[in-house]
Symmetry: C2
Subunit: 160 residues, 2 copies
DNA sequence: TATTGTTATACTCTATAACTATA
DNA sequence: TATAGTTATAGAGTATAACAATA
């Protein structure tokens, strides 16, 4: 057991328990902590497939919406257009996705996933589902669906 | 209404609705989206007080645990020791926090908030509470406390 | 004029290795 | 040897301004 410091103002056990007034009530902080923790585990899992969370999400949208454009994809995932470019560059380089000029609008690209891209998505998603199963194993079926619903409620809240 | 592209593979309205099989079921992704959105609004609010979310959290722990050491603080907030240094440098520079050598262990610093630091915390926290009230206004009291409980459950889950 | 994709850039957040001074 | 705080650094993630090609 580590000793307290000499000035006797620190009446805490070591390590410090964080369940106090302000911090405890700081919901957004706890939300981010939890999100970061989940994100870290998913990232670690996806590393086996050379994917990041955002990369897999991009691949998923393309697989499920073949032919969509980059700007639609960016809107769908709420990411900025510039940040999409390098992601697609990489997916295209790995032959997981194809960019094709749209004949009717030569500014735009139509995005499609290759069979290899689809296969990778299925495998990677199965792996993340297994991890999520463990991550959320503390919540029973009801609590889990309530949680998902709560996320949607907050996310779909009208902007101020 | 924007037209579909020519190859007729994109049967989506514009903008693309994202409520599909894989992406829809990718819980961690939606969690992060929501967390980022909340974080962005809180960050914008705290800007009025020249604070970031992590800075306010640090200040809160110090106010509530006067005399604690940097390593305890880092453990409490699950942040790496190196990342704490510049945060404390700034808080100290602004006379919101004081670092004092611990007499019994001259390697360590005891941290305390100044009265001005405490005042800033109270004001900033009141502002974030107002924002959170709006952010989570879609959830009634029961759903909100269930949500908080669910976060704690996932976060306290034993590591693998 | 407006939009699509792009380049360049910057800022925040998080993580790790290695140093110093003390223990 | 180990620990507390520090320095330097690197990698994600996110955001904005400005450009060329096209509408």
């Amino acid at each position: 057991m580590v000793n307290m410091n000499g000035n006797n103002r620190n009446d805490l056990a070591d390590p410090v328990e964080v369940d106090d007034a302000v911090l405890h009530r700081f919901l957004s902080y706890h939300l981010r902590r939890m999100s970061n923790q989940v994100q870290a585990e998913i990232a670690r899992t996806l590393k086996d497939y050379d994917l990041r969370m955002i990369t897999m999400s991009v691949l998923a949208v393309i697989v499920e919406h073949p032919g969509l454009r980059q700007s639609q994809l960016a809107d769908a995932l709420s990411i900025e257009r510039p940040n999409l470019v390098s992601i697609l560059d990489e997916l295209e380089h790995r032959s997981l996705v194809v960019r094709e000029r749209v004949p009717t609008d030569r500014r735009a690209y139509a995005l499609t996933a290759t069979p290899s891209g689809e296969r990778l998505l299925r495998r990677a998603f199965a792996a993340t589902e297994a991890v999520e199963e463990r991550l959320f194993s503390g919540l029973d079926e009801k609590r889990r669906s309530d949680f998902v619903e709560a996320m949607a409620t907050v996310r779909n809240r009208r902007p101020d």
